[in-house]
């Protein structure tokens, strides 16, 4: 966490939003589907 976090805070501002935002969007959507599926199917 310390290694990745230290590198992440330095490279984060150089990552273009056009890459970061779609990736995060997909991640959030997947987690959302998991949450709904786990709750509705339980």
């Amino acid at each position: 966490m310390l290694i990745g976090g230290t590198v992440g805070t330095r490279v984060g501002k150089y990552v273009p939003s056009e890459v970061m935002e779609p990736v995060l969007g997909v991640v959030f959507a997947i987690v959302g589907v998991i949450v709904l599926a786990s709750d509705l199917l339980a």
């Binding site: 990745g4 590198v7 805070t9 490279v11």
Partner: protein, 288 residues
Amino acid sequence: MTRVWSGVFTAAAGMVAIAMIVVFGGEPVNVSAVVFLQSLPLPAGFPVDQFVAHWWVFPASVLFSLIALSSGVSGALFFSPFFMLVVGLSPSQAIGAGLLTEVFGMGNGLLNYVRQRVVDYSTAKWLLLGAVPAVVAGAFATHLIPTTLLTLGFGVGLLVLGGFLVYYDPPEECVPGEREGEYLKQKNSGRGRTTVETTNGETFSYDTCWRPPGVGLATVGRFITGQIRPGYPRSRPRNSSSGVGCRRESRSRRACSCSGSPRLRARRYTRSPPRPFGTSSPGRSLVC
């Protein structure tokens, strides 16, 4: 120069991680690794078998924390599912481990961002003004909202948020204020400019936004965060209801002419019977 070295280090770390997976990934190699480690002068009681069996958690954690801290997303969003689905920990163990790693990760991230002087304190203090009381109030009101309703709201909210991030243009491709109506244009104008000077000489300057909407969002988000009472592993009966909440903090050039990437955090939680605030008994907890 910093960019070059960061890229080189990241690429090197990735290559080392891939090489470790290739070299030590197979079971026969694991046996060789055990023999090799046992030949080293390790301290007595060093868990060689556990180390060989779980070494890959380390590079995976580095990767997750790199993604989380570079994008401002909670590390527990990655770690808790990883611990549960891949490592094989129980939900309570995964939640606790995920939150513990988040404490160090977010603390380290904050420290680094402060050292780089990229924190907009003038905006942050207003957000904290609403957020801190709200998270306490949310903790007190933890029993008021049905957990099933919050679970569904959380899932739908994540889907909407994901669609929003995928659909809309990134800030670099937007003209600040292009989607604002006359009302917001009027509110966002004439408030001066905010300038942040970093330690490496970069300067970020943008129009100071109209802060009440941001304070409102931070207040609502932290209230929901207080509802989920992070940090307490749950023990939920199988047929009990569950709930979730989400917290979102964002600064968008599109919305208020402020710079910065969206800070998005979302958590899933469950709830056991409400307990007095401040007690050590388990209440709501994060599953992330």
